[in-house]
Subunit: 392 residues, 2 copies
């Protein structure tokens, strides 16, 4: 009976935000501190049009509630984007708008997992996902995966995943391109994940937040578009990454109509619908995406390459996303991991701590090479080099 | 083990949206149908300023993530609004921005209630609240309350509520002004609710969505501002009602700092934060609220009075909100309740069905008198009169 002043138990299983524990220290540093710990873009919005006086005239009802599945014209744009760019064959009824990928993931987890049930979470993983599973009173089973694929592209995926399966496993959380490792699954790897899920009747929650942010000659494939997988997969997208509009909190969920209706019901009980205005505002950027996203990708790829060149310790070059994720174990020089993180903050760089991405990554750090202006990122990497290469 | 294609059990306990069951019928009727079933405003936004070309220059980072507690300048405006208008004595640390009141309520329920625990839900109540409790695997205990206060203002509230208390009761859901009944608790009634909650150590989730929409000489009081109640109360506000910006999905939660930090953590796992742009856009309307809200209230009060005058069956005049909620039992004339609802849709009026507001209200309907233009509301009431007064 957790009456006032107690809270529900599930809340105690949540980890604080990756950034929460640094907040006081970071406040002291303020303008001196370069923020490489958040995944975001330094670029201002490229689309003047939505903030045009004409916009108000053309969208007189942006202030009102919308259909909880989303604004019709926006969903129709998403339908053609998914079919043209991502290899889907969907209709408007397979899509609904959400408040970012976060909201789509959270509504999916609550809709799929009973208390006590397990979900295979391939790691390293986005830090907030395990907390969503805790909020549903379900259980996270971490499976070290993405870094392993860099080292061992021919890994027997089914054999690897089967070791973690129990009679309580209901679903699998996949994220390609992967935050934080930048790993992009190739078609053969993705087919093995799909086959495993089909064999064991697991739902796939496929987090495609980094849709479009893929470098070099790597190819993006959506697991839902593989034969027989659409019915079993919830594919989740956002406008926060390749579209650079995290501040609008807009994403979308794609899946079989029956699941869409169920998960929308959950979302309605979490926030009713995403912003009507945000949906209207993203129609034009969606139309212009083919001229914009390739340029953004080239720019980010340059930033990736220059960051890796400047960093004086060897790191895996990411195949997608905008992160570098690497172990600092060999650079502790007698210091503890947390002493190094503190020294980094003292030197003016905030990084994300590895343990937030999974239990096997306690000696890793993640940095985002696009969240601050390039000259600031450069300065931050200079500081990282100094702290990490310091002799004890 | 609800693997694919099954969903989690909690989803089956959710009622479909009030409007879901009418969707097909309503689509057939489209432009002919007058929508009185949604609580919204017909008025276009009054604030040109946020959609000004200057806005982009002054807020260059509206596209980026914000602090999950909200944009600083926005929270500071909320602080002065709460202290000046609502009798609070709060600081920025007691407030965080949410995606509407819906999101604040949902995050609060998940943070306070363990599976199997009970919350006293005073009814008639907003239809989505019980579903939030179901998503947390907790239990709703309905307590018929607001209509009773119209009939019996001197009701012994403590005695009435105590009958529903069990050893599993953790919290109480209060909503004044109440949707759908329009009841506004007076100070003496509110004090009794507070005393009851304090005596039994119950958290109060105080839904103040209709803040500012109060008619005649009724006074608004926030339960959190009563002596000793702040620590025990989560007060929840929105920009969807008196500010008319439902489409921005913006609200805020006010409470003791310890609770704010816990509930923010839950919200982060539901959607990260509300829209950065929405927060910037509501700063100016907040500044201008004293010139705008009294005019809106007067206008809505006129609409209320003209609607009641036109309606040919007697209804309780609401003390706040923008709804009329009344029984149609005496007007069935041999028809079932659902036959009448169908006849109303056939005649071109969508209304909200009473059972969605609680088990004791199966013969009620709710209509919103501000969601369509006044001449459309007038036409809709003419149609309601025809259907309800039809002889069998």
């Amino acid at each position: 009976m957790p009456r006032f002043p107690e809270f529900a138990q599930r809340i105690h299983r949540l980890q604080p935000s990756v950034f929460e524990k640094y907040r006081t220290r970071m406040k002291e540093k303020r303008s001196f501190l370069i923020h490489l710990h958040i995944g975001d873009t330094y670029l201002p919005p490229d689309y003047q049009l939505p903030i045009d006086p004409e916009f108000l005239k053309s969208k007189p009802y942006f202030n009102r509630y919308c259909n909880t599945f989303g604004v019709d014209s926006f969903r129709r744009m998403l339908e053609s984007k998914l079919n043209e760019d991502n290899g889907f064959k969907v209709e408007v009824e397979n899509i609904f708008a959400t408040s970012g990928a976060t909201n789509a993931l959270s509504a999916s987890v609550l809709s799929l997992l009973n208390p006590g049930e397990e979900i295979l979470v391939l790691t390293p993983c986005w830090p907030f996902f395990p907390g969503m599973v805790e909020l549903a009173d379900a259980r996270v089973v971490q499976v070290s995966f993405y870094l392993r694929l860099y080292q061992e592209p021919e890994l027997n995926i089914s054999g690897h995943l089967e070791k973690y399966l129990t009679s309580s496993t209901s679903a699998l959380y996949l994220n390609t391109p992967n935050n934080p490792s930048g790993k992009v699954l190739n078609l053969s790897q993705l087919r093995q994940v799909a086959e495993f899920a089909r064999k064991h009747q697991l739902w796939i929650i496929s987090d495609e937040a980094y849709d479009g942010l893929i470098f070099d000659k790597h190819q993006q494939h959506c697991v839902a578009t593989l034969p027989g997988m659409f019915e079993q997969t919830l594919s989740i997208f956002t406008f926060s990454k390749s579209f650079m509009f995290a501040g609008l909190r807009l994403g979308y969920l794609v899946g079989p109509e029956s699941a869409i209706r169920v998960i929308n019901k959950t979302m309605v009980h979490q926030l009713y619908s995403p912003s009507t205005l945000s949906q209207y505002m993203m129609i034009e950027p969606l139309k212009k995406r083919h001229s914009w996203i390739p340029r953004l990708r080239d720019h980010y790829q340059e930033l990736r390459d220059s960051s890796i060149r400047q960093l004086e310790i060897p790191v895996q070059s990411p195949e997608g996303t905008y992160f570098l994720f690497f172990s600092i174990r060999d650079y502790l020089n007698g210091r503890t991991y947390w002493q190094v993180i503190d020294e980094l903050i003292e030197a003016g760089v905030a990084v994300a701590a590895g343990e937030d991405f999974g239990k096997d990554f306690g000696d890793y750090i993640r940095i985002c090479f696009t969240g601050e202006r390039p000259e600031r990122v450069k300065l931050a990497i200079e500081r990282i080099n100094k702290v990490l290469l310091k002799k004890s």
